[in-house]
Every structure is written in C-alpha cells, then in structure tokens.
Symmetry: none
Subunit: 205 residues, 4 copies
DNA sequence: CATGAATGAGCATTCATTCAT
DNA sequence: TATGAATGAATGCTCATTCAT
C-alpha cells in the first residue's frame, strides 16, 4: 500500500475543480466526462483512476463542496466572542449569508438528490453526504439554543425540532430564491427571517 | 374547429397518469417515453400528438399536479368558519399536511427545477409553473395576516416577507424530509413549526 | 364503374401541383406528405385515395411533367415549316431550350432515378416513364435525320445511335449545369452544341 | 501530435470499402450505418471517429472514388505515345470505357447530387467534389484539342466549350445507359460517339 | 368519399466506460 | 500509471400509412 503520491492528490483536485465548473454549467446529465478531463488537463481514462464512475465523481464533488462550506461556517462561528443569544442571531445571519453564497452551487445539491431518488444504490451515499452537511449545523444550533436558555434566553423545549425548522426555513428561502424570488429581495427577507425565527408573529415592542 | 373531443381529453388524462407513475419511479431522465405510452395504453406517437416533447409532457404533468393540489388547498381553507388568527393556524396546519401528502411527488418538482436550471428555454415555463403554485398560497397567507391583524392578532408589518418565509419553512421541511429526516418526525415537527412560525423563540406561557 | 367525377380530377391536379412544389423544394425523402396535403387543401387521407403511396405520387408527378413537356416540344416542332436540315437544327435548339427551362425540375428526375435504383419494384415503372420521355424525342430526331438525308443533308447511317447521342449530349449538358457550370454559360454552350453535334470537330469554313 | 497511425488508416479504408458496398446496394437513405460498421468489422461508434456523420462518410466515399478513377484515367492517357489527334480519339475512347466501368458506382454520384440539392450545407462540398472530378478531364481535353490544332487537326475555337460538350455527351450516355439503354448497345454507341463528336453529322468519305 | 387522429417501426447519434499500448 | 481510440447499448422522435368516424 504505497502512500498516496502528491501528484495523485493534485490531479484529483484538478479533476474536482474541472467537474465543479462543468457540472455547474450543464447539470449532471448534461456534463460530459470528456470535457471535464480536457479542462482538468488529464486523459479521460485518468478520471476513472480516481473515481468509480460519473456518479461517484459527482457525489464526491458535492461532498467536497460540503466540506469546504462547513469549514467556512465553523470559522465564522468560532470567531464570535458574543453571549449566546447574540451568537445565535449572528449564527443565523452567517448561515443565511453562507447559503446565499452557495446559491450558484445549490443546483448541484438538487441534482444530487435527484440522482439518489432514482438510483437506490446511491441513496445511502447521498444521504450520508447530506447528513454530513446538516448534522453539524443542526448540532451547533441546538447547542446555541441550550446555551441561550442557560443565559436567560428563550426556553428551549424541543430544541432539536426548532433547530431543524430553522435550517428548513433557510433552506426553503434559498430554494425559492432560485426560481421564484428576486435575489434583490434576499437582504430584507433575511432580516425578516431572523426576526420571525426568533420572535414569531408575536407583537413587537 | 371541432370542440375538443372527449376521447382526446380522456387520452390526455391517461397519458398524464401514466407519466406520473413513470416519472415518479425513474425521474425525468430515467423515464422511457415508450413505457409511458405502454402504460397509458396508447401508441408512442400519440404522446407526441398531445405534447411537443418529453420535457413538455413533464412540465405539463407538474402543472397538472400543481392545479390539483391548489384546488384541494383552497377547498380546505374556504370551508373554515373560524376567526382569522385561528384560521391562519389552521391554514398552516393544512399546508403542512398538504405538503406531506405531496412528498412522494415532490421529487418531480425538484426534477422540474433541475431541468429548467440546465435548459434555458424551459426556464420561463418552469418559473411560471412555480409561480402558479406559490403565488396563490402566498396571497392567501398575506390576506390572513392582515385579517388577523385587524381582528387583534399579531401585527403584520412586512406581511409579504413573512408569508414568503412561512412558505419557505414548510418547503424546507418537506425537502429535508425527503433525504434526511424520518417521516415519523413530521407530526412533531409540524407542531413545532406552527408554534415557531407564530411565536418565534419567545418564552411560552 | 362510375365515370371519373370532375371533382376528383380537380383534386388530383391540386395534389400534383402541391407535390411539385414540395418535392422540388425538399427532394423526395425530405418532402412531407402532410405538407403536400395541406398545400393542396385536402386531407392527408385523400392523397391515398389518389395514389398508392408516396413513391407512386412522386412517379406520377414525374410522368405528368414529362407529358407536359413533351406536348410543348411537339407543338414547337410541328409549327415549323422549314426544310428538314433546318428543322433538325431548330429541333435541337428547341430541345436545349426546353431542357434549360426544365432545369429546376431536373432534380426530380434524378431523384426518380435514385428511387428506382434502390427499389427494384419501382424500376419498371420508372423505366417506362423515362422511355415515355425519351422515345418520342428519339423517334423524332431519327425521322428528321432520315428526312434530312433524303433532302440532301448528311447521310444517316446509324441514325438511331446518333439520335441517342444527341439526346445524351443535351442531357449531360443539363446535368453539368446543375452542379458545375454557370447558367450564364448555357447560351454559348448551346450554340457550340449545335455546331458540334452537326459538324463535329471538322474544319469550319 | 502523433503521426497518423497505420491502424487508423487501415480502419478508415475498411469503413470506406464497406460503405461502397452498402451505399451502392441501398442508396444513401436506404443504407444503415450499423450495417456498414458490421461489414467493416468495427463498432458503430468508430465510424463516427472517422467521419462527422453519415453524409460526411458518403461524400468522402465519393471523393475517394473520384480520386481512384482519375488516377486510372491519367495512367491510361500518359502512357500514350500517339500524335495528338489520335491521342484525342484514344482519350475519348478511354473515357467512355472508364465511365462504362464506373456505371455501377454512378448511382452514388447521382445520390450525391441529390443530397447536395436538398441540403444547402452540403452544396459546396459536393460541388468541389464534382469539380475535382471533371476539371482535370476538361483541362486535358482542352489541351488535346489545342495540341491537335497545332499538329494540323481540326481548329479549336471554343475549345473549352467543346471539351465541356464532349464530357457532357459521355455523361449523358452513361446516364441513359443506367435506365433506358441496354448495356449491350454501348460498344456501338461508343463508336458512334467518337465519330459524332469528332466529325458531327457531316458526310463521311 | 373525405378526413386526420392514432400508430409504431425504424435509425442516427451520443457518450460512459474499457483496455491495449 | 496515464492515455484516448474503440466500443455498442440505449432512446427520443419522425412520418408514411391506416381506419374509425
């Protein structure tokens, strides 16, 4: 078992980058393995040295993006020195911003889901990927809710469900932005989102 | 110019029904026009008498489902004799139930979105479809928010944004249910959703 | 056996006219029976009341054109009061003119030939058509050659072969005009043709 | 940039040979790419590695035949040590023989012409092909006419037109042989052709 | 008779994947 | 290990023809 050569790692990265561009532009079905190879500067066969098949390449790309994004979100959160309720608010704000930045790549995740939907053998791989994406976010929000509670914030019964819903709302917002909303609406929506998620429809003083 | 023959209408319906089954099972790319024809009990060519091409059939199917679903939601809402705030609560509850019922077909809408994403010529048709689906719901929620306000409910500044967010949350919930959550979680989530959307994270008495 | 109704004859004519336009524009394979029907102002099925199938329609159209053209050529010739050698010269000149006028429809005859080439069951029908086109011309030229002989013109041994060659030359000229020669060259070529066919390469006074 | 591999050249040749057989037998439209591949002993996809599409394969085949045939004609002519007028006669005779041999493939050229007629994007390619076929022959005949003139043969005013007509006559002869004449007539016709083209209808001593 | 909706055989072309070099 | 030429399965769509009305 020879150690992974650095050249191989580099090549893999090049392929993933090329794949990001091509899959983003044409979608999964529309993307051509040959074009990815050309852009990555490798032979078509080389792609199959690194990935089982096109689906495998695609899901690995998605996982890669998930990883990158998570790292970013964590960095943002951990840097915060605020007390819990304010950190929660900031976390939501950061999440919305992250998701907004992710919008152009969001299509890939929908494609991934479509893929898994119609090919049972990809389901578990795809589900794991989505869990890897959401579970840490969910856990952090639950943590913040509890912390917030301890520090006098709103009580957190059903914290898990609440966290899920918060993520769902942000998700749905992003989703609708793709096909129905104007991107210019986002800032105002984001502000409303924060308020709504934290205060509901209660009268505001 | 003969009136649309009932036979033609019947055949179209049969094709749409067959298409629903096949597209649901295999996704857009995976579905075979020939199988749809076989199941619908018509010749392959007949499908092309009714629909320009596969994409057209698919989007028409989605629009058809949208129409059916809307009709249902409206029926539920209009039947309600409750005062505004309670009606809002019931509307949300009905929506969540509707979406839950739609879950198995939800995949189709994601596919539709994917399609539009990678085929510019389908964008507008697809966007119109989504607007047809969401705008009426959005309008009704806005109306309920205003009505709720007049009858002493919570104030409704930014009613439009709030309505958008409510729909987004329900959407996101459905989306996550598809690939990440257990369907058994839904009832509890739905209850929490209602509460969260109406009361936010404020302390509850 | 009812007499052929005049309406039927009219309809047949309309179909043939439409077919001329469509076959000329798109070729045999490219032509759509439906478009011919539309232009003729009849239903698609009606075409099959008049012609066995597409090939039949096509060959009948060609035969129709042949008939028209022959009638024209005969009219031209019979009107001539000249002595035989001059009439021969005029006949050639008229033929060349006729063929020039036929150029835009010439494609149809090549198509007809292609058709017969690859579908044995059409061979004899097609051959008969070509014979109907050429044999009268051939016979008239042979007649003129003999007449010319009797009236002191050049001797006509092998008159049949000579007539065949004259027709072949005119044919070949038309053929090359289609894809290789400029139509502007035709008049000069026609003049040369007459001379060459009548006098060969012999020195000219 | 590797030199063209001999294996690739061989395969291309095999495809062209198979294509000759299949196109000759069924015509362009009737030929099946799959059968060509099968006969050539290659995969269907391989044909598309060598040729853009069916039309491209077809026109390349025609060009290939043109090249082969020209080479043959040239060899025949250059071998001749005769004086100019006799060489002209022999050239014509050789041409007729060549064309006679080409008869079974002549159909392909008519098909090529039909193709170009109805598909504008193939016109220029097809015209170039025909020019490649005829222009050298035309030039050689013009040369022989001039040479013939200088050495006391018939004068050659309008040599170009005469050459064109000679080619046209031979062409037309071949064409008529395909659908109207008996191949057995050819030798006598050829002899007459020579005489007619060289001496016209003038009295013969 | 005329119609045109329904039919379904038929086919070029693509492209993920393999494997000889 | 990398390559890219070769492969061939796979499928949407067309359109001549039929036949119920």
């Amino acid at each position: 078992m020879p150690p992974i050569s650095p050249a191989k790692t580099l090549r893999r990265r090049a392929i993933l980058e090329a794949a990001l561009g091509v899959f983003s532009a044409y979608g999964f079905e529309g993307a051509r393995v040959e074009e990815i190879a050309r852009i990555a500067g490798v032979g078509k066969g080389t792609i199959y040295e690194h990935f089982e098949h096109k689906e495998d390449l695609f899901l690995n790309l998605c996982a890669h993006l998930v990883g990158e994004n998570l790292a970013l979100a964590r960095t943002r959160l951990q840097a915060s020195p605020l007390p819990a309720p304010a950190r929660l608010r900031q976390y939501l704000s950061d999440l919305i911003r992250s998701v907004t930045e992710l919008l152009p790549r969001m299509g890939l995740f929908f494609e991934a889901w479509s893929l898994a939907w119609t090919r049972p053998q990809l389901r578990s791989q795809c589900q794991r990927m989505f869990r890897d994406l959401y579970d840490p976010l969910h856990a952090e929000i639950v943590g913040l809710l509890h912390e917030s509670d301890r520090s006098g914030g709103p009580p957190t019964s059903m914290a898990s469900e609440r966290a899920t819903l918060i993520l769902a709302a942000i998700d749905g917002l992003a989703y609708q932005t793709l096909f129905r909303l104007d991107q210019g609406d986002l800032p105002r929506l984001a502000a409303t989102a924060e308020q709504l998620l934290l205060h509901g429809l209660e009268p505001q003083s």
